[in-house]
């Protein structure tokens, strides 16, 4: 099965471009407008974070945004309800911790996503060995599950991870949690190169890709980037307009670079 997310990203790559996937914390004030701004400024897809009480893969910025969203009374049902009315013309993925999926039940969660028009799911605390049941339910509902490849993965693990991945392979940019860094970690391009060797699926680098320059640097090896904390910080500081301006800047940098 090749789903909508993989189809859209592959088309961008086939045309010689690089993929840009911003992350927006669902339920945070202004999040719907922020997604519209991303789409209007050339994002290929948007990753919507479903806030969780214990986000162990996230650094201070996304933790704070999640906590504010939860304190504002959001929940994943409300977020999906709003997503349903979002007609932005690009595929949407959710990023959520596994207890959200497990508590709802695999089949129900997958069908809730599908009903809201979501294309894919990223579950960062669900590693390969534990992912079988969820992935089966997701496939049955037409949801692509993006798998994460980690810098610590030995060579014999990567082929199994990419084999299960749908949509794209999320190549983790560094050892650590989400957040902005002053420079791109060497592991970002090293791992992306290792992953590219074992798959033809789109390979995007995320975690620690913090500005337009780093997005270009990562994309020299990878097919594109996911940008989280640097986008969410702009949402928190300047709202949807600031997000739009930033996505525009990164899009231009990716489009004008020589590959």
């Amino acid at each position: 099965m090749i789903g909508r997310l993989e189809t859209v990203l592959s088309a961008r790559i086939a045309s010689g471009g690089k993929c840009l996937v911003p992350y927006i914390t669902g339920g945070y004030p202004g999040w719907v407008d922020a997604i519209r701004a991303c789409a209007a400024q050339g994002a290929d897809a948007v990753e919507i974070g479903l806030p969780f009480s214990d986000p162990v893969m996230d650094g201070p910025v996304i933790q704070a945004a999640s906590q504010i969203a939860l304190e504002g009374g959001t929940d994943y049902i409300k977020i999906l309800h709003e997503v349903r009315t979002l007609d932005v013309g690009i595929p949407l993925a959710v990023m959520c911790y596994y207890n959200t999926v497990f508590h709802a039940g695999h089949e129900r969660f997958a069908s809730d996503l599908a009903a809201a028009g979501i294309s894919a799911a990223i579950v960062p605390d669900l590693p390969l060995e534990e992912s079988g049941d969820w992935c089966a339910a997701a496939v049955a509902a037409g949801i692509e599950t993006v798998m994460l490849a980690a810098p610590t993965a030995p060579d014999d693990r990567l082929p199994r991870v990419v084999e299960r991945a749908r949509g794209f392979v999320y190549s983790v940019g560094l050892l650590g949690v989400t957040g902005e860094r002053t420079s791109l970690a060497l592991t970002a391009t090293t791992l992306a190169a290792r992953v590219k060797k074992v798959t033809n699926k789109p390979v995007l680098v995320g975690v620690g890709v913090s500005n337009a320059e780093q997005a270009v640097e990562a994309s020299r090896v990878a097919d594109g980037v996911i940008m989280g904390a640097s986008v969410v910080r702009r949402l928190m500081e300047g709202g949807a307009d600031a997000v739009g301006a930033y996505v525009h800047e990164v899009r231009e940098a990716l489009d004008s670079a020589q590959w």
């Binding site: 207890n99 060995e129 534990e130 980690a150 810098p151 693990r157 983790v172 050892l175 650590g176």
Partner: protein, 385 residues
Amino acid sequence: MVTPGSDGRFGDFGGRFVPETLVPACQELEAAFQDAWADPMFRSDLSDLLREYAGRPSIITECHNLSEQLGIRLILKREDLNHTGSHKINNVLGQTLLAKRMGKKRIVAETGAGQHGVASATAAALLGLECKVYMGAVDVARQELNVFRMRLLGSDVEAVTSGSQTLKDAVNEAMRDWVATVESTHYCLGSVMGPHPYPYMVRQFHRVIGDEAFEQTNELLGTSPDVVVACVGGGSNAMGIFSGFVDTPARLIGVEPAGGAAVTRGQPGVVHGMKSYLMQDEYGQVAEAHSISAGLDYPGVGPEHSYLASIGRAEYPTVNDDEVVAAFQLMSRSEGIIPALECAHALAWIVREAPSMKGKTVLMNLSGRGDKDVGQMMSILGGLQ
């Protein structure tokens, strides 16, 4: 006892729900533990440390005064007499020896009441490891003596200000540290929880409590006790003592605080790397626990406890803070033993249920001493004229 396979399962519970980055580290730890546990040299090094440094075996004490008052025969397993004042040292000596064997230079640990943090800081000082302890800011405030102890021992203590600022948030922050430092650092997890192999490994390091108590009670009573009682937060002291009696007819009782009752009030969920009973809301957001005792202020429970509960082998009743405060004073006055607030939960249940256990032999794990809690109790009780 269940020995989990490579999937880390105790029945439906357990597993390894961690980010991909940590999977190789968990696999490496699992292999290193199995290798070490099967190695007579490692076992002998560990028992030497337990004997000559921690002061094992810990004794059992028959509580004649309380027994008479309650109409039962009450025996305490005295983990409070270990070096650093609680059972936590058993696991920490095991894990730090293992960390050294794996070539790690640094450990990180989470702590609630500070007992695991102090034990980790102690072992790190002894074995020459760098140590960083994460502790919720609420717990830093109510356990300031333990914070100072850890710093005195040369460890770095960081107050965690995210979420509920208690034990669960300290675990989150320790895991975030480990994700970033996994190549040089061992996560010295303090309870029978977390991703495989932790629940199994930590139980094995604590089963010395149950193995000793089995021998000691059989010598004293000529048989095993009728009831074995321990408090449960994550559940390590309880798993330790249950290990010695799970194959006997003894009733096994794990007492949870009413405000942190994962088994009674929780549903199966996944957090901190494991599938287990978890207090959560209708959308799977993890609930904040509320207990007078920082060490039990945890919304989850170790997966083997969930398993023992699910098959009906162990029971997990709850007690409230008022019962705990009363039990804390009762043991102090009746036996001259000031218990940790955590263990006062176990006694509170025994006091409440004693009328239905007349003449029974009851073994309680006194997993820690109460020195750390006297400041907090002073503010609750006033001057005690």
